[in-house]
């Protein structure tokens, strides 16, 4: 990095390294990707922590997210301002959680957030229906959707409140070993 232009100071890179699951090189690459998203917005020089945010529509256009049915939800979950705009820190955060190294617990927290469409801290039937419709291109009839969702809740709901709390969700995930590898976006 030293030969061309300083993007981050060493201290910054150390901080990124210590707080995320990325190495220096990956941080620089992530910066490159972030810069690509909005070249006119994002400066190349990040040594003085510029307060730059890339809006959601630009982020969900990344090839890694473009086809993901939950792209908006993912970006929302990591957005500091709640509007879907991501600063570079949020951006790094997002891919850090989605990286291979992130522990299951951390991934579970954000996955829950992704699936909780109405932000009521429960995955209720409504959320599941939305999820299902996103997952199946609305191929199923409304009755089928409703049936599948009801059955899903019935299966996974441990405390009988007819919606999935985070505990239920985590319990389910602990029994789904694939989750670790599937809730993963390689950058």
């Amino acid at each position: 990095m030293g030969n061309k232009q300083t993007i981050f100071t060493d201290e910054q890179l150390d901080a990124y390294q210590d707080c995320t699951f990325f190495t220096r090189k990956e941080i620089l690459r992530l910066h490159g990707r972030y810069h690509e998203l909005a070249p006119h917005l994002v400066p190349l020089d990040y040594t003085n922590d510029p307060d730059v945010k890339v809006p959601l529509p630009l982020i969900v256009n990344m090839p890694e997210l473009k086809e993901n049915p939950f792209r908006d939800q993912i970006v929302q979950a990591f957005s500091e301002d709640g509007l879907g705009n991501l600063s570079f820190n949020d951006f790094v955060d997002m891919f850090s959680v989605l990286s291979e190294m992130a522990p299951r617990e951390l991934k579970a927290i954000y996955a829950f957030k992704v699936y909780d469409f109405n932000v009521d801290n429960f995955i209720c039937k409504e959320d599941l229906e939305k999820t299902l419709n996103k997952l199946t291109k609305e191929d199923l009839t409304p009755e089928e959707v409703s049936l599948v969702c009801e059955k899903s809740i019935e299966e996974a709901d441990l405390d009988g409140d007819n919606k999935l709390s985070f505990a239920d969700f985590e319990n389910m995930i602990s029994r789904a070993p694939d989750f670790l590898s599937t809730f993963h976006i390689r950058i």
Binding site: T23, N68, F78, G82, T136, D159, M172, D178
Partner: protein, 953 residues
């Protein structure tokens, strides 16, 4: 320090959350019953705490938070005030975003309490104010719940982030430290938001609290945090910080604090060394990071792996990862063999004296030209390299030990990966069904547009199938069941018969081949490998045809059945070949029989390679052509992961067996896998479609590793071990010529070795007693762990049962509450008009919040609000450990309701409370929560609320 005993929010939430602002503390002054119930709850929390301590058995862990729990607080008015501080926390979460603290961070800085504040400085409370109100007032529900969500993270964080070594027995080791630090840091984060509130000072005055008190509290918490993080090793604290569920700037803030603290601590201790050690630690960190980047750079085929997972998902990716893993095994094997066996042989100058002419066919047969080369066992000499007095390299020992060490390392690595894989993938019985399909099965790695479309369609079909299947299964008659069992039996018999027939054919063919070799026809030797590979290609295809006849209730059973049949086939073929070699070939001492076995293996490996290529041509390319042009109903083929992985396992078994007979065969194996990787890649990209049934990739991978270990590695090891231990090596060639068996080398070596080596050899390796003791100990340990496992299983069942009971308790309390409200309304029934209006507003907003409408449909203000608090008072105490995070989550919804109440005078104040208490104390035994006491508490709260109304107006 008056608010030192602020109750962590989970507890206070239960006690006073739902009453409004100042109600709570008056409640306890005025109402005897409530006080009693409060004390009762308090003692329960004590019990809870004890429970918690027991659970972690570490005083250390509890020490920093102990001041939260001490009983003294009951008599202290600030205690109740602190309760009220908690009351409307929801408002303080009013940021419309998940992460409210960084604004707080700024103000924190202003207050001068921060150490080494990194980011976010300068954004003070004043600056935050507009955004704050703008966000909260117009859209209270959205903003609040987002914030509340975040809040709940912190509530649950210490549960979510389990200790780094969960399997360790709870001891007073620093291993538990990470969890502790999470808890503390979570609390700190709560406190960092303190001066967010706009009119905070006035509100504080009303409660008799000053900012200094809060600041004190904050400092305490910060010290706790820093102490704990600093106490950890650098690596542990880094991992801990990385795993915190918060935004980067917060993590960075915590990190900067820890670093600052660490460096000052060092300076205090050794001023002269501090600089040096700081630099060293920095250097080590950079080095570690550097090694990480190097590892990444070395990782093969990164880009391609991403492409595959993007197009085909994790299942297909696991095949390529497996292939890569095997390739690494072989590269290591090559390095070891080449370094310790071949190079000394070449150096010794005793190179092969080859007279045979090279005519091309040797590349396939490995005979003729290759006969006496270092490729095979026969090419190695039994000499001692160098002059005996100084430089000694014993070729015999080197040959034996190199292979032994490689085998041991391989075994260790296999067992390790198998165990870790089992641990993460088979801990609990697999989840299945709709919820799993919906929430866990989507592969976030898939980025290809077509693949996504296909996946969506497949998922829809899968769900529809599962709906119809369930209906179908119920009406299966017993005669039909019997028929199915019959079909299974017949097919198993057929499959086994096929395998046995193939084995017999191969055995006789091998005998025939031996005769041909004696006659001198080289090309005939290719017959056996050809037939073996053909069987390996065709019979699995027949097996896959069985799928059309057989019906398994569970698709996974089908996959397992196919795998078992294939493994049986491949392993019995290899077994019969080994039997033939050991029995017939090995008893011809006049020839160099090891080399001829090595050549047979060479042929098998090479021909297998061609058949693998053919397999991808027929299996993928041709069926693609047929599927797209001739018979469209067949469609584009899928990549058959199971078949391909089993082929790899078979190849690897061959390579392991050949280790002794042909040390350099791994070179061929490396080339084979390398080329195969690219062939499969091209074939996959051009011919295949993403698999229809997704999921279970992780479990399949575990099974493949297990298969690689159990029949494959263990089989190869036993063949090699048998050869080394019992077979007489050929007299004319190879390193072990003239010995009784290859293992005799070790005995020969012992005769000239020093005492201690001999002692170890005699006492350990040759001693029955030693192995007897070892096996005894292992058996006892196994029994012990098995019992432990059984105990854990029971515990899991009990805990799950408890969660279910909690749900019932909740429903029961809710019902009771409603009854109470009705009776209360009919008896008391003179609410204040103005209050009522406001309440109506708030409740309407609350009802408007999604997810809560059904919770309490017919409860009406003013009672419902406090009533809910009462109900919730029951919940925290009786939550079992597993669900406490759930509680944290559920709570925040109410935060939203409370925040919507417009007449909150003390909004800001609520923000001043460190809101994220250690969730651990939620752990309570449900038996200790007495519903009657709680209901009394509810009643008391309602009473107090009415009193409060009188007081205000």
């Amino acid at each position: 320090m008056r608010c030192k005993r602020l109750y962590p929010e989970e507890e206070t939430a239960g006690l006073a959350v739902c009453s409004r602002d100042t109600i709570a503390y008056r409640l306890f002054h005025r109402n005897e019953i409530a006080f009693d119930s409060f004390v009762e709850t308090q003692t329960r929390h004590q019990r809870v705490r004890r429970h918690h301590i027991w659970k972690h058995s570490t005083e250390q862990k509890c020490q920093p938070m102990s001041h939260y729990y001490s009983n003294e607080g009951i008599g202290n008015p600030a205690y109740y005030e602190s309760d009220t501080l908690e009351v409307d926390r929801g408002f303080s979460r009013g940021f419309p975003h998940s992460n409210p603290y960084d604004a707080g961070q700024g103000s924190w800085h202003v207050m001068g309490a921060g150490v080494g504040m990194g980011s976010g400085g300068g954004r003070g409370p004043a600056e935050m104010l507009p955004a704050y109100s703008a966000a909260t007032v117009p859209t209270p529900s959205v903003g609040v719940s987002r914030g509340g969500w975040r809040e709940s993270w912190r509530d649950s964080a210490s549960v979510l982030i389990s200790p780094v070594h969960p399997s360790n027995p709870p001891t007073e080791t620093p291993r538990w430290q990470p969890q502790q630090s999470y808890t503390v840091s979570m609390r700190l984060l709560g406190s960092r938001r303190m001066s967010l509130f706009p009119g905070g000072a006035a509100a504080l005055d009303r409660l008799g609290l000053t900012e200094e008190d809060i600041q004190d509290e904050m400092e305490n918490e910060e010290q706790d945090l820093v102490k704990n993080l600093v106490a950890m090793s650098t690596k542990d604290s880094d991992t801990a910080i990385r795993g915190l569920p918060m935004s980067f700037s917060e993590k960075k803030y915590i990190r900067s604090q820890v670093l600052a603290h660490r460096s000052t601590k060092q300076k205090h201790q050794f001023t002269c060394c501090a600089d040096c050690s700081g630099q060293i630690s920095m250097f080590v960190r950079r080095l570690r990071a550097g090694s990480g980047s190097v590892r990444q750079a070395l990782a093969l085929w990164q880009g391609f792996m991403k492409e595959v997972s993007g197009k085909f998902g994790s299942g297909v990716l696991s095949y390529f990862l497996f292939l890569k893993w095997l390739l690494m095994f072989n590269v290591f094997s090559f390095l070891v063999n080449f370094g310790f066996i071949t190079i000394p042989q070449l150096v010794s100058g005793d190179a092969f004296t080859n007279t045979a002419k090279f005519n091309g066919l040797e590349l396939l047969t490995g005979m003729g030209f290759f006969n006496n080369t270092i490729m095979f066992y026969g090419g190695y000499s039994a000499d001692v390299v160098g002059q005996p007095p100084n430089a000694i390299y014993n070729m015999q020992l080197a040959y034996l030990l190199t292979i032994a060490v490689y085998m041991v390392l391989c075994g260790g690595s296999l067992i390790y990966s198998m165990a870790t894989s089992f641990k993460s993938n088979f801990v609990l019985e697999g989840a299945s069904g709709g919820a799993w399909t919906l929430l866990c099965s989507w592969d976030f790695r898939v980025v290809n547009e077509r693949a996504v479309r296909q996946r969506k369609a497949n998922l829809a079909v899968q769900l529809k199938e599962s709906l119809s299947e369930k209906a179908q299964q119920d009406q299966l008659s017993s005669s039909e069941k019997l028929k199915r069992v019959g079909v299974h039996l017949a097919i198993w018999l057929l499959a086994t018969g096929l395998a046995i027939g193939a084995c017999a054919a191969i055995y006789f063919l091998s005998a025939y081949e031996q005769k041909q070799i004696v006659k001198g026809s080289d090309a005939a030797t290719l017959l056996v490998p050809f037939v073996v590979s053909l069987v390996n290609l065709v019979v699995p295809l027949i097996y896959s045809l069985f799928n059309k006849i057989e019906h398994f209730s569970n698709p996974r059973m089908q996959v397992y059945a196919v795998i078992i049949r294939n493994v049986f086939l491949k392993m019995s073929i290899l077994g019969i070949l080994c039997y033939y070699w050991m029995n017939n070939v090995a008893h011809k001492p006049d020839t160099c029989w090891e080399s001829s076995v090595g050549q047979s293996l060479y042929r098998l490996v090479v021909v297998d390679f061609f058949f693998l290529l053919l397999g991808s041509f027929f299996g993928e390319f041709l069926s693609n052509v047929i599927g797209t042009t001739c018979v469209p109903s067949l469609g584009v083929p899928e990549f058959d992961i199971a078949r391909n992985v089993l082929d790899l396992i078979y190849s690897q078994t061959l390579a392991w067996i050949s280790l002794y007979f042909s040390p350099l065969l791994t070179v061929i194996q490396i080339f084979k896998f390398f080329i195969l990787f690219y062939v499969k890649k091209v074939s996959l990209m051009h011919n295949c479609q993403p698999p229809r049934k997704s999921g279970r990739a992780a479990q399949m991978q575990t099974i493949f590793i297990a298969l690689l270990f159990l029949p494959s590695y263990v089989g190869a090891l036993s063949v090699v071990a048998y050869t080394v231990w019992s077979l007489k090596p050929s007299a004319s060639c190879g390193p072990f010529r003239g010995l009784r068996n290859p293992f005799a080398v070790v005995e020969k070596w012992m005769a000239v070795e020093q005492d201690w080596v001999v002692w170890i050899y005699e006492q350990v390796i040759r001693s029955e007693l030693f192995f007897f003791l070892i096996s005894l100990i292992v058996l006892v340990l196994t029994y012990f762990f098995w019992q432990l496992k059984e105990g854990r299983r029971l515990l899991i069942i009990q805990l799950r049962q408890r969660i279910a009971n909690e749900g019932k308790d909740k429903a029961f309390l809710l019902e009771k509450l409603q009854k109470l409200q009705k009776s209360n309304r009919s008896s008391a029934g003179k609410p204040k008009t103005r209050m009522n209006n406001q309440r109506n507003v708030s409740n309407r907003q609350w009802y408007a919040e999604p997810g809560h409408e059904e919770a309490l449909p017919d409860s009406r203000p003013p009672i419902s609000e406090s009533g809910f608090g009462g109900m919730r008072a029951a919940i925290p105490g009786s939550r079992p450990p597993m669900s406490e995070s759930g509680f944290g989550v559920s709570e925040s919804g109410f935060g939203g309701m409370r925040a919507a109440v417009p007449d909150m005078g003390l909004n800001g104040l609520r923000a001043a409370v460190p809101q994220s208490g250690p969730p651990a104390q939620l752990r309570a035994d449900p038996a200790s929560s007495t519903p009657s006491g709680l209901i009394q508490a509810m009643l008391a709260r309602q009473q107090a609320e009415q009193d409060d109304d009188d007081y205000d107006y």
